[in-house]
């Protein structure tokens, strides 16, 4: 059974109405559940307008659960844009095929130059990002992974949905996570915002986390792009998707992101409301639904907001992000996918976290465990420890 079968059983409009009908008593019941016992009906209550009055209670619980599970830590990572060439026409994205921007696919030398800068900042986990293009497929990605593997222990991708065998092949090259955001779970809105190109195939995208899970990739990241449709309902469907992955692909770790529409190259489009307050409510609701899932806080958000919100359930943050290919090593040019809003350096973000009693975590995996010989650090350290 794939997620498409699960998704078809829930009408988007009916779910919206169910969320709207939730009462303060429903919210209190959800808040009273023992940890780990919040179900999808409770999630609907926690995402509802009625829960707004309980946001402080939700934040306290979310903060507490996160501390108990993860400790006062924050994983730091950076996106590494490899290409902005894209065959899709999407209303909200700077890479959209109709936008007249300079297109670029990084060469090996350019990719390594980016890697050097990111290593210099201290990053050990990078998220490889591309648009969707034939020449930036499995072979190009596998080559990039081989190139970057000696330099980073965490190699994640955010690219077009791939077939299951491609995920297996990339995992064998060291890829440990796939981020694939559904953008919206509402069919009409999906069609409205994905005008042409392979991305217009909604079902292929809906089933991507299933293919990632079947291929045995360690982690899959889910999310909706808030601003395209009703955020509460899209967040609920993201929760439905999370539960599906947790039960069917139970070996796979999960993470949830909360991207909001940001200014970008191209025409202005109508944006549905999604405030910072709403973002906090969504994140806290997910923490209550799943005490184990990782929650990511983007550099799309402002410094002021991130400095307050990071402790409300989040476990990872990007820092110092550039969203254009070559953006770290060469002079930033206007090739970016979207504008970021926290312009601090990674060192400044890390220093801030430390000042708040949080430990910035740069590395939480060693590729030696995967059998890659290029990085001998952990193996040497282990050998030394055993010799003592």
């Amino acid at each position: 059974m794939t997620f498409t079968d699960v998704w078809r059983r829930h009408d988007f409009g009916a779910v919206s109405r169910r969320i709207a009908s939730k009462t303060p008593a429903d919210v209190r019941r959800a808040l009273g559940r023992p940890r780990g016992s919040v179900d999808l009906e409770d999630l609907a209550a926690l995402l509802s307008p009625a829960a707004s009055a309980y946001l402080e209670d939700m934040a306290q619980a979310s903060h507490q659960y996160t501390l108990e599970r993860f400790g006062p830590t924050m994983r730091l990572y950076a996106p590494l844009y490899l290409s902005n060439v894209c065959a899709n026409v999407c209303t909200y994205c700077g890479f959209s095929a109709h936008n007249r921007i300079r297109r670029k696919v990084l060469t090996d030398a350019e990719t390594l130059a980016e890697a050097r800068v990111l290593r210099g900042h201290g990053f050990d986990s990078v998220l490889l990002v591309t648009g969707e293009a034939g020449r930036v497929g499995r072979d190009y990605l596998a080559g990039s992974l081989r190139l970057l593997r000696p330099h980073f222990s965490g190699l994640w991708i955010e690219v077009q949905p791939l077939p299951e065998e491609d995920y297996g092949a990339l995992a064998a090259e060291g890829m440990s996570a796939v981020m694939v955001y559904q953008e919206t779970y509402e069919p009409a809105a999906y069609a409205r915002h994905h005008l042409s190109g392979p991305k217009a195939d909604m079902a292929w995208r809906l089933e991507t986390p299933d293919r990632v899970g079947r291929a045995g990739v360690k982690k899959v990241g889910l999310g909706a792009l808030f601003g395209l449709s009703d955020w509460r309902t899209d967040a609920w469907f993201t929760g439905l998707h999370l539960r599906h992955v947790e039960t069917v692909h139970w070996r796979t770790r999960t993470s949830i992101s909360f991207p909001r529409l940001r200014p970008h190259e191209g025409e202005e489009i109508p944006v549905t409301p999604f405030s910072e307050r709403d973002l906090v409510q969504a994140a806290c609701a997910f923490r209550l639904l799943s005490p184990e899932t990782e929650l990511s806080l983007s550099t799309r958000e402002s410094e002021a907001f991130r400095n307050r919100a990071f402790r409300l359930g989040f476990t990872s943050m990007s820092a110092g992000s550039r969203t254009n290919p070559g953006g770290y090593a060469s002079a930033p040019e206007s090739l970016e996918q979207f504008a970021i809003d926290d312009n601090r350096s990674p060192a400044a973000v890390a220093a801030f976290l430390r000042s708040q009693g949080y430990e910035p975590v740069w590395k939480d995996w060693d590729s030696t465990y995967d059998g890659f010989a290029e990085r001998g650090g952990a193996r040497r350290a282990a050998a030394q420890a055993l010799a003592l």
Binding site: R28, R29, A30, L31, G32, R33, P34, R35, G36, S37, S52, A53, L55, E56, D57, M58, A59, Q60, A61, H63, Q64, Y65, E68, E246, T247, V248, W250, S275, E276, R277, V280, R308, R311, L312
Partner: protein, 237 residues
């Protein structure tokens, strides 16, 4: 036994094939079972390995004309603890042979997921050691199994009182399997009736939506710290 079955309201009755006379002569156990009313669930009680269990299953299918099978493999004669390794292997083999397999296992969440993937039709984790009447000693693990299972969960073994059955159903279990508590009661028919009521109470409470309970880590405990959301403008009354 017949009156106890009636009073319990059960739909499924498990029989140890090792104890059934399969040579065609009248049988003490089967003679008392109305097979139009109860689905027979032959079990592999007494087997100690996957190989033995498969042989027992084939024999049961032939003798009782059903693909349904309660798989139980316990090499340990003292506590009758199920062998997880042999059980998983036997499940894989039996599913391929077309059996509807309901394995009896420890309340081990990972094992239950592995069995589900192997094609088990349900999982039957134990509440406590068989015959112990201790109830849901494995509660914390049963809760995890129920939360993540995609097949029915039947709590098997160790239920000593109707309140244990009610608690299992409240927790979200789909059914319970009971033997000793009824068979060894002073009045088995009345006890079977009591278990029926316990199951009905638990299931009705579950469906009605149980209220939340306070527990460690619940928000009430955490709210002593300073406000976390005061930086967010407006919205809350």
């Amino acid at each position: 036994m017949r009156r106890s079955l009636e009073a319990s309201g059960t739909q499924l009755v498990t029989v140890a094939l090792g104890r059934v006379r399969t040579g065609g002569e009248p049988d003490d156990i089967l003679g008392h079972l109305d097979t139009a009313r109860y689905r027979l669930l032959p079990n592999t009680s007494g087997t100690r390995s996957a190989r033995e269990a498969v042989l027992a299953a084939e024999l049961a299918r032939e003798a009782l004309e059903t693909n349904w099978l309660k798989l139980e493999i316990h090499p340990d004669p003292k506590y009758l603890m199920p062998d997880p390794v042999e059980t998983l292997e036997a499940t894989e083999l039996l599913v391929k042979r077309g059996f509807i397999v309901l394995p009896y296992v420890h309340a081990d969440p990972v094992l239950c997921k592995r069995l589900e993937e192997a094609g088990a039709a349900a999982v039957m984790p134990l509440g406590s050691p068989i015959g112990s009447a201790l109830g849901l000693e494995s509660r914390a693990f049963l809760e995890i199994i129920i939360a993540q299972s995609r097949v029915p969960v039947v709590v098997d073994a160790g239920l000593g009182a109707p309140s244990h059955a009610a608690a299992a159903l409240e927790m979200g279990a789909d059914a319970v399997l009971v033997n000793t508590a009824i068979a060894a009661a002073g009045n088995p028919v009345a006890m079977a009736e009591a278990f029926r009521l316990g199951v009905e109470a638990g299931r009705t409470a579950r469906e009605a939506g149980l209220g939340g309970r306070a527990s460690a880590g619940a928000p009430a405990r955490a709210s002593a710290t300073s406000p976390l959301t005061s930086f967010l403008g407006g919205g809350a009354p």
